[in-house]
């Protein structure tokens, strides 16, 4: 017998998750579309649904021990108006979806949905976000790239819930988020690009690149980034061809209804090139 539940507290939600499997619903902006049925009928769920969106105890943005900590049911629109939220994250949120969706959408939903085109995911990868998972047994913290294992696949256990996202506070002298889609608002990315750099005394101290929708998970290669640490800005710009060649084999997009692999790959590498040469 189907029994959907709106828990009154996180504790109640965790206990329920420990008893039996549920589909966890946060803002529903992905799930309600994926499970959409005919007009005038509810979406189709084979599993019981646990409604956590209104758990106020998971709605917060705070600074703690060198991290910005974001509660999992915080709508992304709240982050836009927060002084604490990292600028790069705000940049991505500012151009994702539309106000109506941003009032419901959550970062935790992007993680749970684990789409390679999730708008905030490249930012979470670039910023080394840590995902805090909670169950009745306690909490565990995992880096974002260990949580998501493939398209729509993640390592979360049936009894776990995303409690919060911890983003280390870091400094960039320049950063960009670029999204290419069929329409400016409300489009799922054909490809997205994130670049962030910290240059001090003309030395590259930090260099981070992430791509969305060009591989099974968000593409970030720390071993490539580290090759270019310590260069001057001019040296880095001079090596733009090497940088593009380094990323080329890892940019392996697919053909789908939104775009094709040739277009995606060309655009992704052009965005990378443009980021470097316009530093």
């Amino acid at each position: 017998m189907v029994k959907n539940v709106i828990p009154a507290s996180l504790n109640e939600a965790l206990n329920l998750l420990n008893e039996r499997p549920f589909k966890i619903m946060a803002g529903g902006t992905d799930l309600m579309v994926q499970r959409r049925a005919w007009s005038q009928t509810p979406p189709e769920f084979n599993e019981d649904v646990l409604y956590i969106f209104n758990l106020e105890e998971l709605k917060y943005i705070k600074e703690e021990d060198g991290y910005i900590v974001i509660g999992s049911t915080t709508p992304v629109e709240d982050l836009l108006y927060s002084d604490l939220a990292p600028n790069l994250l705000k940049e991505a949120i500012g151009i994702m979806a539309s106000p109506a969706l941003r009032h419901m959408a959550t970062i935790a939903g992007n993680i749970g949905n684990a789409s390679p085109a999730g708008d905030t995911l490249p930012i979470l990868y670039a910023l080394d976000a840590i995902i805090v998972l909670q169950s009745v047994e306690g909490v565990r913290e995992l880096p974002i790239d260990e949580v998501i294992t493939g398209p729509r696949r993640h390592v979360m256990n049936q009894n776990e819930i995303i409690k919060e996202i911890k983003i280390p506070i870091c400094v960039f002298t320049d950063s960009v988020f670029e999204k290419v889609g069929g329409r400016q608002a409300d489009a799922i990315s054909k490809v997205s690009f994130t670049g962030a750099i910290n240059i001090k005394d003309n030395k590259v101290l930090d260099f981070r690149i992430a791509f969305g929708a060009v591989s099974a998970t968000i593409l970030r290669r720390k071993e490539i980034e580290s090759k270019y640490i310590g260069l001057t800005k001019e040296e880095l710009i001079g090596r733009v061809d090497d940088i593009v060649i380094d990323y080329d084999p890892f940019v392996r997009p697919i053909d789908d209804q939104r775009s094709n692999k040739e277009y995606r790959k060309t655009v992704a590498l052009n965005l990378l090139r443009n980021f470097v040469i316009t530093l």
Binding site: T29, P42, S98, L101
Partner: protein
């Protein structure tokens, strides 16, 4: 089934319903608020826009379970306010309504924008209404109407 309480157009509601129901269907079929339109049914066109706690949302992708404890306002409830009068007159003056199917959603999105930003620039209006599609006007008259409402309704927002 689950017990769900919310405020709808200033009236307290308590229901024992399937929380998976789309808010859109509940508003149209159970409460007959048919100013809430279904367009795309997947959150891209904004015809089904309503306010939840003063913020615009697309009711076609809001499950009933997510409105527990919230305040919902449809175009019908909003049409009894002074702010609506100002927005309505501005839309009429600027010719911002043609076929009309996007209009309730446009007005709800306009209200949500003005609530957060009483003096939006043209660019901010376009971003504020970016989730609402209109296939008649070409948007320019709608942007002008929101600008006019912001000016005429000075102090209301």
């Amino acid at each position: 089934m689950a017990k769900i309480k919310f405020v709808l157009n200033n009236k307290e509601i308590e229901m024992d319903e399937n929380p998976n129901l789309r808010l859109l269907d509940v508003l149209r079929d159970k409460f007959e608020f048919t100013g809430v339109k279904e367009g795309c049914g997947e959150g891209e066109c904004g015809a089904c826009a309503v306010l939840i706690n003063n913020d615009v949302v697309n009711s076609c992708i809001v499950p009933l379970g997510n409105v527990n404890g919230k305040e919902i306002m449809t175009i019908e409830g909003f049409s009894e306010t002074k702010k609506f009068e100002v927005i309505k007159d501005a839309y009429a003056d600027e010719g911002a309504v043609q076929c009309g199917i996007c209009t309730p959603g446009m007005i709800i999105a306009s209200e949500s924008l003005l609530n957060k930003n009483p003096k939006p620039t043209d660019e901010e209006i376009r971003i504020g209404l970016s989730g609402n599609l209109c296939r008649c006007t070409g948007y320019n008259m709608i942007v002008k109407a929101v600008k006019k409402a912001s000016k005429k309704g000075d102090g209301l927002w």
